[in-house]
């Protein structure tokens, strides 16, 4: 995976977990994280066109304000839905804790960047370097500094998920042999 991501922007000031995927859809698919189903409903509560426009390639980066993905729910459906329609990066002023962790754990890069909301308009093209945190607005020429993602987080993005990354690390270091102490039941 490249550490430099370029794309057009979809922007919304306040995005809660229940905006990314509605509570109804989440409950209907409690134990079913099917990207095809969830993707169709991405952001529908606040933008009915979101999924179709994203899949058409109108934009691939989300820019938002404070507390992206807030609302205190730990489910991962929203992240799966965003990835399914081709979102490759979320940049926000700040993130809710569960959303930040779920995004990285599921291989969707997220950058926290002070001032991003006012520096970018919907439809602008931006370029973000995940490893340095430098974000350039190619449309306006503005540049901002986000918190960069360290190397092992870039490794998680490359592997596609935290578990896939750790599985590969364990395989490489040869520490994945079974050594259960007790009997197998």
């Amino acid at each position: 995976m490249e550490n430099i991501i370029r794309g057009k922007v979809w922007k919304h000031g306040k995005v809660d977990t229940a905006d990314i995927i509605s509570t109804k859809i989440w409950l209907e698919n409690l134990n079913n994280l099917d990207p095809d189903i969830l993707g169709k409903h991405a952001m529908a509560p606040i933008d009915k066109e979101f999924a179709s426009r994203a899949m058409r390639g109108d934009f691939r980066i989300i820019v938002s304000g404070k507390n992206f993905g807030g609302g205190g729910k730990s489910f991962e459906h929203g992240v799966i839905a965003l990835k399914a329609v081709g979102i490759v990066l979320v940049v926000a002023e700040s993130f809710a804790r569960y959303n930040f962790r779920n995004s990285i754990n599921n291989g969707l890069p997220v950058l926290e960047c002070n001032g991003i909301f006012n520096a970018v308009e919907a439809g602008d093209e931006i370029e973000a370097d995940l490893s340095t945190g430098v974000i350039k607005n190619l449309t306006s020429g503005a540049a901002l500094q986000a918190d960069p993602l360290p190397e092992f987080v870039l490794g998680i993005m490359e592997a596609g998920s935290y578990t896939a990354y750790i599985r590969e690390q364990l395989r490489q270091t040869g520490t994945n042999e079974a050594n259960c102490a007790g009997e197998t039941l």
Binding site: N67, G70, G72, S74, S94, F95, A96, R97, F100, R101, I104, N105, E112, D147, L149, P150, F152, V153, I156, Y162, T163, I166, R167, Q169, L170, R171, T175, N176, E177, A178, N179, C180, A181, G182, E183, T184, L185
Partner: protein, 422 residues
């Protein structure tokens, strides 16, 4: 170069760095992991199926506690406990706490020597923030992240900003750490400025609090959306941990020039007991404003307020009195150790004489999946941490959150009552 807060210093140490700053992502070593009956079997499934290993990292304290479902009350909970026991046996877990020998996981972590100042401790439960009362960085994680800790002993973490609450004033009689916390969350509101942040409690009123009351406060920072709560270790912490003299730990303190994202000053010298009213934790009133509200049940227990001194305060109020005839008082010691001490010092006898139903240590009705749930239209005053709609039973029931003293006084009067009378 400005100084660091204790949360920043502990995360720097755990990730092998001299300095970390808020916003930075680090890969941190985790000293201990707590898991419960709700997610335990699933954690081992992720370990085996998704991470492709069944080896637990050496040097990691894995504490597996059966607490949420109580003694099995239906076939489903019996099956879940069976799956937990099988996993614990298969992995030969040395710190597996089965029924009758256990307690609520968070209490076991603190009182059985798995949490020390300066360490990083994770739990697969949102109230894992409790351990910050001993000067550790502790937080709740997902089952998948728990499996990653099992396999690697590490977890990526974002270094949080710290918000500091400096608490001053002599706490009035019958007013507790729980009341201080309810006052603070009523003041800041949920979804306020501490989301994803560290919450540090400091000041003379915090120094004056017992470790038990500090645990109640750090327990409830989860309700503010914070990452962790933390209190600087002191003589009381050392005394609490005196049972593990062989354990060497660093008392990590915040630098005097540490940078805080927000600072609040809270004076508690004239604080009255607080009550959080249905269905929002941050909807907090002085007890005077809600006194007289009729109750059906009083619940004293949980990882927030089921400790020995909580039971003893209730016994002080209930001694020589009876639980109101229209009310059930349910008392659940937070651990076997607490239960035993409360039996030995006569506390349980006083409570049972008064008409309390005393249960074996477990989470009981707190999360609505154990014993002691409430019916449609009923009202419960509870020493627990959440009063969401339907949390303890029927969707149209009501939960008022309060201190153990307020719960006990209310149990006597049959209505929400001011404990300062007793």
């Amino acid at each position: 170069m400005p100084g660091m807060t204790m949360t920043e210093k502990i995360l720097a140490g755990a990730s092998g760095k001299k300095i970390v700053r808020p916003g930075e992502i680090v890969n941190a070593r985790v000293n201990a992991l707590m898991m419960t009956d709700l997610k335990g079997p699933y954690v081992f499934k992720v370990l085996e199926e998704e991470l492709g290993t069944s080896k637990i990292r050496d040097g990691l304290d894995v504490v597996f506690v059966l607490d949420h479902l109580g003694p099995a009350h239906d076939i489903k909970s019996a099956q879940q406990f069976k799956a937990c026991r099988e996993a614990a046996r298969k992995y030969g877990l040395p710190h597996f706490y089965d029924l009758g020998r256990q307690g609520i996981g968070h209490q076991v972590m603190c009182e059985d020597g798995y949490v020390f100042p300066g360490t990083v401790v994770a739990g697969i439960d949102s109230h894992s923030t409790t351990y910050g009362a001993l000067g550790a960085v502790s937080f709740g994680i997902s089952p998948t992240e728990g499996a990653i800790i099992l396999a690697t002993g590490e977890l990526w973490l974002k270094v949080p900003e710290t918000t500091r609450f400096t608490v001053t004033g002599n706490l009035p009689r019958r007013v507790s750490g729980k009341d201080i916390f309810l006052h603070i969350i009523g003041m800041t509101k949920w979804n306020g400025e501490v989301l994803y942040k560290a919450v540090e409690f400091t000041g003379p009123a915090i120094s004056a609090l017992s470790v038990s009351d500090r645990m109640a406060m750090c327990n409830m920072v989860a309700e503010m959306g914070a990452k962790n709560g933390i209190i600087a270790p002191d003589d009381k912490t050392a005394e609490y941990l005196a049972g593990w003299p062989e354990k060497r730990y660093d008392a990590v303190l915040s630098d005097p020039d540490a940078v805080y994202s927000h600072e609040y000053a809270v004076d508690v010298s004239s604080l009255s007991p607080r009550v959080s009213v249905p269905h929002r934790i941050d909807d907090v009133r002085p007890v005077e404003d809600v006194a007289g509200r009729k109750i059906d049940q009083a619940f004293l227990g949980s990882c927030t307020n089921g400790r020995l001194e909580d039971l003893m305060i209730a016994a002080e109020i209930l001694k020589g009195r009876k639980v109101h005839p229209d009310v059930r008082l349910i008392v659940v010691p937070a651990s076997r150790k607490i239960y035993l001490e409360a039996v030995r010092n006569g506390t349980i006898e006083i409570l049972a004489e008064a008409g309390a139903a005393v249960l074996t240590p477990n989470c009981a009705a707190c999360a609505g999946i154990g014993s002691g749930n409430i019916a449609s239209g009923e009202v419960c005053i509870s020493s627990t941490n959440r009063n969401f709609e339907g949390r303890m039973g029927a969707k149209d029931s009501e939960i008022y959150l309060a201190s153990p003293a307020t719960v006990a006084a209310s149990a006597v009067e049959g209505v929400i009552a001011d404990p300062r009378k007793y």
